[in-house]
């Protein structure tokens, strides 16, 4: 059957044509043609017009917020995600399994729910916003709120990337270093961190990629003021609501290119991580 074709290794198993055919057809209709429509619509713009839309002040301000807040949120997650992963792997404490289970909540929780919940909790009269307000910190309707929302949705990516890597760290190596006189901090820096770093970088990039495209959990807490607290996905939605299809497609193409770049970095980081693991063995 499939053996006659040069691009597929011979196998006695059936169903290759059918499964690959179905998967390919599905991807063509659900992913490839729609993405092509976006690219071609944006490409139908003259280059200078595309450039004008993609770099107008309102768009530039939205990139600054989207990428800046996403980067900050990914950094916060890298630090706290690492601490949480460490706590879960190294310590036994009451409620550990519960904490471990709720880490995945942002994966399962609809973004609109986390959006309205965060907006209400951090609003000036909300449970947390009330106290933050009294010490002069405003979270809701500022860029800080955007960072908070993006931190929430990115957290599980870092924890779930770092956790298995920390479990793999060889404790006897740590003990050896300590018995040779290394301080706990040196052991952390020289033994643990190098082992975990590729996974931490992968988690960071996954959280960053997710944050850049995020819409639902952000728009409620952001306040959505043009030039100040308006993220790029929202600007696309606004352009669509004004029937500015070309403008939406242009900004969509910019975001799609960023997504591809993120996807390539994630693949490269995965390669690094796998080589690290293979190199140790």
């Amino acid at each position: 059957m499939a053996t006659a074709r040069g691009w597929v290794s011979p196998s006695v198993l059936p169903g290759f044509g059918m499964t690959l055919g179905f998967a390919g057809l599905f991807l063509t209709f659900i992913v490839l043609i729609p993405m092509a429509a976006l690219i071609m619509r944006a490409a139908s713009l003259p280059l200078d017009e595309f450039w004008r839309i993609a770099t107008e002040p309102r768009a530039l301000a939205s990139y600054r917020l989207t990428f800046g807040a996403s980067f900050l949120a990914a950094c916060v997650n890298a630090v706290f995600g690492f601490i949480i992963a460490w706590t879960l792997v190294r310590y036994e404490f009451p409620g550990r399994r519960l904490v471990d289970a709720i880490i995945d909540l942002p994966f399962a929780l609809p973004t609109a729910v986390s959006g309205i919940a965060l907006a209400t909790v951090f609003a000036p009269n909300g449970w947390l916003g009330m106290h933050l307000e009294s010490i002069g910190i405003q979270v809701a309707y500022t860029w800080v709120g955007v960072v908070v929302a993006l931190t929430l949705i990115g957290l599980p990516f870092v924890v779930r990337s770092v956790q298995p890597a920390l479990e793999e760290v060889d404790v006897s190596l740590e003990e050896a270093a300590e018995s040779l006189g290394a301080s706990r901090w040196t052991v952390f820096r020289r033994v643990i961190l190098p082992t975990v770093l590729p996974s931490l970088a992968t988690g960071f990039t996954l959280a960053l990629a997710r944050a850049i495209g995020e819409y639902g959990s952000v728009i409620f807490i952001a306040g959505n003021l043009p030039m100040r607290t308006e993220i790029t996905p929202l600007l696309i939605v606004i352009k669509l609501e004004q029937y500015d299809y070309l403008g939406a497609a242009a900004l969509g193409l910019v975001m799609l290119c960023v997504s591809f770049a993120m996807l390539l970095s994630i693949n490269a980081l995965n390669g690094w991580r796998i080589r690290r693991v293979a190199g140790r063995r």
Binding site: G15, V113, I116, G126
Partner: protein
């Protein structure tokens, strides 16, 4: 030496340990637990009766029906896709496999807004196929088909992503043995492959369902927000929230949150069950 080591650890760890556990729990409480509790707090802030009445409103019931309908179409199709893609990728070696895997990962890094935008560009009034479908009297954007397509694009990777590593780990020997003993393709799949992937498959389906019912960004772009007609549950929560109907918004949100918590519970149970079976 070993004793000294032990002492060093004893002396250093308790303080760091307590601080780190405290930091972890505090961070999670502020960013995860507080919002979850607040959803329930606001939903029931005016009592159970008001909560139940909010859920019984005409538009909210319509939103629940639309969400269930969408999931009932999207989840089976995505499950079939996931099983087919995982079978091709895990059981065969072919050129272009990496491209296929990358395509499957694409929705994870593409903004949901883009996922909705592409279908508006295809089927909207000024879209490639928009005018043709309009002439046939078929409405795609701002109607159920658009909502289904956008949801499908965002959620199709979940089953495939769950199955591919499991099926790759299991290898091909069992299926090859079954086929060489004369079993047909379907029999091999149902009797050999399916029993060994069923827990992963179940979790993939549950996760896909949670994402499909909760999808917001992609659906917001294609829905048109026609109340009682094209608002899914997450959109209905937004509509009510924007109208300052907090009890109504959080009542809808509480249902979606219940779905998320159920999903997590099932995941934890499935993992525990899977681990026990592997040990046995």
């Amino acid at each position: 030496m070993a004793v000294a080591d032990h002492l060093i650890r004893r002396q250093q760890n308790p303080f760091v340990r307590v601080v780190l556990i405290f930091v972890s729990v505090l961070f999670l409480a502020a960013i995860l637990i507080m919002p979850v509790v607040s959803v329930l707090g606001y939903a029931f802030s005016e009592g159970l009766g008001v909560y139940l009445n909010a859920l019984r409103s005409h538009d909210t019931l319509a939103a629940i029906r639309l969400t269930l309908t969408t999931a009932a179409i999207v989840v089976p199709v995505n499950t079939i896709f996931g099983v087919a893609a995982a079978w091709a990728i895990a059981k065969f070696d072919f050129r272009g496999k990496q491209i296929l895997i990358t395509l499957i990962d694409l929705p994870f890094s593409v903004s949901p807004v883009i996922a909705g935008l592409v279908f508006v560009l295809l089927f909207g009034a000024q879209g490639w196929f928009g005018p043709w479908f309009r002439d046939q009297g078929i409405q795609i954007v701002f109607a159920l088909p658009g909502i289904v397509l956008a949801t499908m694009l965002v959620t199709f990777p979940y089953v495939a992503r769950e199955l591919i590593p499991i099926m790759q780990m299991q290898g091909r020997e069992a299926e090859e043995a079954a086929v060489s003993l004369g079993a047909g393709g379907w029999m091999t799949f149902f009797r050999v492959t399916l029993p060994s992937i069923r827990w992963g498959l179940l979790y993939g389906v549950i996760l896909c369902n949670a994402r499909a019912m909760g999808e917001f960004g992609a659906v917001a772009v294609v829905s048109g927000h026609i109340r009682g007609l094209t608002t899914t549950m997450p959109l209905q929560a937004q509509v009510l929230y924007d109208e300052y109907d907090l009890v109504g918004a959080f009542a809808v949100a509480s249902l979606l949150m219940l779905l998320a918590l159920l999903t997590l519970l099932l995941k934890t149970l499935l993992e525990a069950f899977g681990a026990r079976r592997r040990r046995a």
